[in-house]
């Protein structure tokens, strides 16, 4: 799928979210769905399998997200899967999140941590990143045990790595 189509789908998703209201909350939910798909090859393959009827794939989405996400989020994901774009769902959601943040004049800061961050920590981290990068950011936390400890932040192409995993890898390379 071309970057242009991905961008068009992302734009459509953002338009729907804007029309439905809570932009930030839906944005967080969509981001969480993208992370879950990125971590699960099996789920990603099932949703992208065109041999499975679209209704069945949409039913899987509704079964997984129903009760855990807003109806708008479930509807948007189901719409993309039903359109046969399940294989590009992660890219579409990431583009939509970045576009949504851009509408609020913010950049998306993807933060990986071994444990969940409190709201206070996220706010202070956002402030620290604003001072460091000069950009207003919206923090999207991904809990990743592989980080072991500390945080890894990616804003666009810029990465600020303070994880224990990276330090151990550096130590290994130093040997």
């Amino acid at each position: 799928m071309s970057a242009e189509k991905v961008s068009s789908y992302a734009e459509a998703l953002v338009a729907v979210v804007q029309a439905e209201g809570d932009l930030a909350a839906t944005e967080d939910e969509l981001f969480a769905v993208a992370r879950a798909l990125a971590d699960s090859d099996e789920l990603r393959e099932v949703l992208a399998d065109r041999r499975i009827p679209a209704a069945r794939r949409q039913q899987i989405v509704e079964d997984l997200l129903g009760g855990h996400a807003a109806e708008t989020t479930v509807a948007l994901v189901s719409m993309v899967v039903g359109a046969g774009r399940g294989s590009d769902l992660v890219r579409i959601i990431e583009a939509a999140v970045e576009r949504s943040a851009g509408l609020r004049n913010k950049a998306v800061a993807e933060v990986r941590s071994a444990i969940a961050l409190s709201d206070d920590q996220q706010q202070r981290l956002a402030e620290a990143l604003r001072r460091a990068t000069g950009k207003d950011v919206t923090v999207k936390v991904i809990v990743d045990p592989n980080v072991m400890g500390g945080l890894v932040t990616r804003i666009g192409d810029e990465v600020i790595d303070g994880s224990v995993r990276t330090r151990i890898n550096q130590l290994r390379e130093a040997f």
Binding site: S113, A114, I115, Q121, A128, G149, G150, L151, I160, V164
Partner: protein
Amino acid sequence: MRARIQDGGRARRPSRLRRRAIAGALIFLVATGLGTSPVIAAGETPGACVVEKVEALEFGGRHGGEALALLEETAARGVDEGAEEKFKSFEKKLQSCLDAPNPIIPEVTEIIWGGIAFVVLLALMQWKLFPAVKRGMDRRAEKIRDDLDAAETARTEALEVKAGYEAELADARAEAGRIIDAARSDAEGVRVDLIARAEAEAAELRQRADQDVEAAKRQALSDMQSEVSAIVIGAAETVIGRNLDHDTQVELIESYIDDVGSRN
């Protein structure tokens, strides 16, 4: 004949063959003449001699056999002494026909005719044969001299050629010696070069082997260090993972936030 030929001016001289034919004919004529001479007649058979004596006999007005019969009859009667003497003389003549000629001393006429023939033959030979023989011998001697000169010349040339061949042979031997020396020199050079190459290759192989050994040692050491570091890092990772409790995690997060916030 010579005068006629000379008078003829441009007439050619008789050839050698023609001159020999003429001399041979003269000698034949002389010999034929001698054969019909009294010398040869003196050597006739006894029968012919008796017949001649009988035919020459004359007695009582008769000739030949009749004279002989009459003479014999008259002498036998013994009435005529003259007839008896004549008969005895005739018997002696007949007896002379039966006597053998002297084998050593020829007849006088034969000596005379033989001497004349000898002189004529000698003169002819002196006139024609001896000069021809002398010329032939001279030509032959000249030819032999020429042949000897030619042979000497050929021998000299052969000696020169032989000397040339010997010189060329000597040169060839010298050249062969030089070639052999050059080949030996080249072979020695090749041998030295091969030895030098072999030594260089051996040195290179030793150096390469040393380098391989050194590289293997370094690789083994590096592998061992990697193994050790992997073990150490793995152990450290395990220890760190066990010691990263919630408070430590929070402390690391706070430290990260402070560190990022301190960047400007």
